[in-house]
Amino acid sequence: MSLITRIPNRLKELWEHKVFRYALILHIFYFTLSIVLFFFLYKEKNDFIIFYNVGDIFLNDIENLYNQTNYLWDFRYFPLSALFFIPYSVFNFETAFIIFNVFNIILNILICIILYKIILLVRNKDHENDDKRVILYVCVYLMGLPHVLNYIYGQINLYITLFILISLYIFLKYEEIKWELIGSVILGIGILIKPTAIFLIPFLIILRFDFQNKQVKFDFSITMVRLLGVILPVLLNFILFVIFPPLWEGFLDTNFTGTNPIALNFSFSITKLITNFCYFYNIPFNQLYILFGVVCIIGGLGFILFIFRRFEKDSIIYSFAFGITIMLLVYYDSWDHHLLNLTPILIIMIFNLPRHSEITNSIKPSLFFFSFFDLVLVGIWYLIYPLFPFNFGSTIFLLVSLYGIIKYCYKKKRNYFMEE
């Protein structure tokens, strides 16, 4: 059957599922709402303004790419990420926003397809054979409230999610070394667009303590290929940094030492909760030291614990889960829409874990909280920030997820099917 006939048939099949109908209608509502809100409220207060300007500045005045007077808010990503936004600068701003969000919908469709394919690839054998539950969870992703903010702000998280999922699919599906390189390069492109996935890099290292033989196992060649692949697209930026030295200064200042990292906001990362605390109670602080401390404690601990995992099969899923959860816990700005990078990974984990695993009990509540309740707490933050400027709900659920992942890594008695 050709692809053209398969798509309508598959859509007809999916339409039979009530949850799919709801998810689709709800998602179209999110999209429409974002367009309406954009024109009436957020046209001048929108992340897309920055992306829209960046494309133009990259072409015409690259040395001033990090000159923040050019933007309403700071542009803080790698310089080459601007390439992705050049096509939008051809249109007027409003049209570009609509086209950008239509493209976001297409990205979401692709994400759902690849998520579905990954789940079928790694699903534990004691799960149901039909795909009803898979469709349900893919719909949970599609119905997630973080999509609303992602569309309204004109954010680029869906690019990252897609690149993360494609690379994960490649790592899981193929074992040849060339595919390891391709998967890593794709992940590197994701990091190039937005460095949020940078904490995934250490978890690509294939290093494990073998409890049975009491020895450390390290796959040097694959690790090197992966690291080379992931760093290659990022390294291309350094060509620009060398040619235009002000870019390097601007990049460092905007991301690590400027005033932006200390502004009071509803980020749920531990680093931000600490800086908010210091800001609120007038405690002297250095945001870089706080970031460094939290990275060492959460990131370092996570990495060490991951080395001592008791399994290897499908461990790349848990690598990605570790990397993204740690990133959300440690970087200054972890906002509601960034959760769109994590929720698909949590869904994959739910299907990879045994059907009635107790670990799922800590993953599932987190998934539902991130999908439907985090945005509510963001709203509450606006009401209470003069007295209590801490948005800690998602922090707790991120820690719960991290605890679940760590617990799974140390589980001695593994499910029969997993061992097989």
Binding site: K45, D47, T259, N260, I262, A263, L383, P386, L387
Partner: protein, 273 residues
């Protein structure tokens, strides 16, 4: 006859296909056209900047922290003796503004107000001075680069609304960085000797947050390492803050209690009798 029927049917089919194709072309053209021009049509709705305060409104700011010796080192002795906004500033003092008139014309907004400078007194008495502020309605109309340094605070106590958009469209000098992603915030960084030799004598940083009425709600002046030298806050708490906080913590506590009870029950059920 049969052949004729077939020929007619074929012709009808071709016509129908052509029509369908035309309709498709029309539809696609319409979609592209509307997409391209929707922006132009909707772009007409430009922001109308207003003044968020009304006549007879009163605002009181409270000074929570004031490191007077450090301020003297940074700005020189007498920094709080001149007629600037920090006149008599000390920890625990309060300052009051009362809006007298708000005038709006096509190009500018003018606010006239009375100021009671920083004092420990509970009763305000007669105001210290009358002052005024004029803001151009279009922030982009300020062609020269702006430094808001006339009264030592380096940021104004009042802005037109929507604040974030107004600040974002101002042509501010390199000292300033607007961040209105979450709360309308004006960040100021002035290096040592940034204004003139010995002034300020140390690098300073200011974080000024405004509320939805355009009033300065929090002002913090730091030196290196985020050591707070001055902390001023609007002495006003919206009515919903405390009830929301109480509800939030009640729900949170109940959630934790229910979770503990459930966990306890499941453990006691799983124990062999």
């Amino acid at each position: 006859m049969v052949l004729l029927n077939i020929v007619i049917k074929r012709k009808e089919t071709i016509l129908w296909r052509n029509r369908k194709l035309k309709y498709r072309q029309y539809l696609i053209s319409f979609l592209i056209f509307s997409l391209l021009f929707s922006g132009i049509v909707l772009n007409v709705n430009a922001i109308n900047y207003k003044i968020g305060v009304n006549e007879n409104d009163e605002f009181i700011w409270k000074c929570k922290v004031c490191n007077t010796p450090e301020m003297s080192v940074i700005f020189g002795l007498g920094w709080n003796n001149n007629s600037g906004i920090f006149q008599n500033l000390n920890k625990g003092t309060r300052m009051k503004w009362e809006i007298n008139t708000v005038e709006v014309n096509e190009t500018a907004n003018k606010i006239e107000f009375s100021i009671w400078f920083w004092t420990q007194n509970e009763s305000w008495g007669v105001n210290d001075i009358d002052s005024q502020m004029i803001y151009l309605k279009n922030p982009k109309a300020y062609t020269a680069e702006l430094n808001i340094s006339t009264d030592n605070s380096f940021v104004p106590f009042l802005f037109p609304i929507p604040v974030g958009e107004y600040m974002g469209n101002l042509n501010l000098s390199v000292w300033y960085d607007v961040d209105s992603r979450v709360l309308p915030t004006l960040n100021v960084e002035i290096s040592k000797d940034g204004i003139r030799t010995g002034y300020p004598s140390k690098e300073i940083e200011i974080i000024a947050i405004y509320n939805d009425k355009g009033i300065l709600s929090s002002y913090k002046l730091y030196t290196k390492g985020h050591v707070v030298i001055v902390d001023i806050a609007l002495d006003f708490l919206p009515f919903y803050v405390i009830p929301t906080l109480i509800i939030l913590f009640t729900v949170l506590s109940l959630g934790i209690i229910v979770y503990i009870i459930k966990k306890y029950k499941s453990i006691s059920l799983s124990k062999p009798k």
